[in-house]
Symmetry: C2
Subunit: 329 residues, 2 copies
């Protein structure tokens, strides 16, 4: 529900003060030197002598130093791997919950990261997706990022999270069902259709060779935007290096624009991908959804499922587009 009666300017949402507080890096478990405060990493990216990326695992005895990226099991996992000889009861929260530490630099952020480093982050997402999606008890792999304490980030060191679920999440199953119905009715991918329409419309924000960024028609959040690949692919598994580079640039530019416009607001982003490594649902089209956290879902939203968005997506798109053109082009 778009509440134009409540129309507001972007400055109404801008954070009043910068969130970058001085951080005691000796106490941050994700900062270099504190590797022992975390479980052994399931994946470490190190810089090889020839400048290429070397991929390792930690052991119980060894935590690698001089890393670029570390992916570790979450110490407080929402989902846990099955134990030996376990009886898989319906509904048990079997799975993995990992933290992907994006950089040794505590204050790293896609908006300021070097593009080369951002491509490593994306490649690490894909590496973990490959490994986790091959497990028999994994039906879906959710890759997401929380930024800012108001958006649920309990640690401020730059990180993403990966959770695998033993069922297909309802938002995905709804999207799969709807995109299948569209495909059967029209013979086209609904996301490809949306992309063609939004490229030319009032909700367009930015594009490069591989991606279109736009505010969705029924945006739930003020300043919500989606990053949609121009090439129809069901999942992230076989991204070309050029596509990875272009996604890094899209994240850098668009999250940079969001930061400039609203002064480093809290946000969440989440990948939407087809389950089963994309082999079944050929009509699906992976994408990334970015939700700035600027309002609070309260009694009305929680008891009806209707979400009131106080900024029309056309206004969100216009502000973001202008900010990007001025400061991030």
């Amino acid at each position: 529900m778009i509440a134009t009666h409540r129309k507001r300017r972007p400055t109404d949402f801008a954070k009043k003060k910068a969130t970058s507080q001085s951080v005691d890096k000796s106490s941050c478990p994700f900062c270099p030197g504190n590797e022992r405060k975390t479980p052994p990493a399931v994946l470490v990216y190190l810089m090889g002598k020839d400048g290429s990326i070397v991929k390792k695992k930690d052991t119980n005895e060894l935590r690698h130093k001089n890393w670029l990226i570390r992916c570790i099991p979450n110490l407080y996992p929402a989902f846990s791997p099955p134990e030996m000889k376990e009886n898989f009861e319906s509904g048990r929260a079997v799975g993995h919950h990992e933290v992907l530490i994006e950089s040794p630099d505590h204050n790293e952020h896609p908006a300021v990261a070097r593009l080369s480093h951002l491509t490593h982050v994306i490649n690490a997402y894909v590496d973990r997706l490959k490994t986790l999606s091959s497990k028999p008890y994994v039906r879906y792999v959710s890759i997401f990022r929380n930024h800012g304490s108001e958006a649920g980030a309990s640690l401020s060191h730059a990180h993403s999270q990966i959770i695998t679920t033993p069922t297909i999440p309802i938002i995905l199953s709804n999207e799969l069902k709807a995109s299948k119905e569209c495909y059967e009715a029209n013979g086209t991918c609904v996301f490809c259709d949306i992309l063609e329409k939004e490229k030319k419309g009032t909700r367009f924000i930015w594009e490069n060779e591989s991606f279109v960024v736009f505010a969705p028609w029924a945006a739930v959040h003020p300043f919500e935007f989606w990053i949609l690949p121009k090439t129809h692919k069901t999942t992230l598994l076989d991204l070309q290096p050029k596509t990875v580079k272009d996604l890094a640039r899209a994240l850098n530019v668009c999250l940079g624009g969001l930061n400039s416009l609203l002064n480093d607001p809290p946000y969440n982003y989440g990948f939407h991908i087809a389950p089963n490594n994309g082999k079944v649902d050929e009509f699906y089209h992976w994408h990334l959804e970015v939700y700035p956290k600027l309002t609070i879902w309260a009694g009305f939203e929680k008891s009806t499922g209707i979400y009131i968005n106080v900024v029309p997506p056309e206004d969100s798109a216009k502000s973001l587009k202008q900010t990007i053109q001025r400061h991030h082009a």
Copy 2:
């Protein structure tokens, strides 16, 4: 998803400091003396000379004084009434958005209110429901309360809100569909069945002659509880005075228990009622759901629709039950 791996004690959620700050009542638009700062009330409860309730409306010229309850149009409405001769386009947010000021006392709260006053609040809900549900463009009336800024209450003066929608909200239509299916399969009301089961179980919290209070089996929020009437009724419209009194007591006791246990936490509550004045969906059973706001929905929840509850409902119920027995029996 109940994350027992992340099990926590109630004290982990208790607010660290009391939220009751000194309020400048001269600036609160809901406090007595400031009636001119709000639109004219659509409903005012005044005390009559014989102690009975007199119901009035404000006019543009007159704002009643010495009121007990005022219900006013929201100055920033999410939904607006249709204008004269308007063309009802599909999807326009036609409706009403009202604020029900529960008391002249800024710090009033169901947990501390006198029961006689709480019955007036409930009666005022029902009065507005009657009036609003009779309008041809109203399909549903959502009655809810936000408490605490973290739960979306932008003003701290005790108030509820009422929003009417031109469609049946998805949460309600899902509940209507499911309860209809259960009725057709079993010949019984699924809520009546739940009530019988929860009355005796590990999620039971409290009951009186008219209501059972329990933590639901698949609670989405830590310390979530539902207040379910023992008599099968589809909506609030024809509550008996005894039922109103017992609901007032249930709110008083259970929100009192929540406050004692978690030190006045933010929360939302919302009524779930059948649309169409309950005349169509006889299998539905109205109830009130209370959601303490203790955690943040982040990237995982928002991109999957799976909600991680870190406190099993059995533990929530046990803590609430014990606190109520000790302090509110």
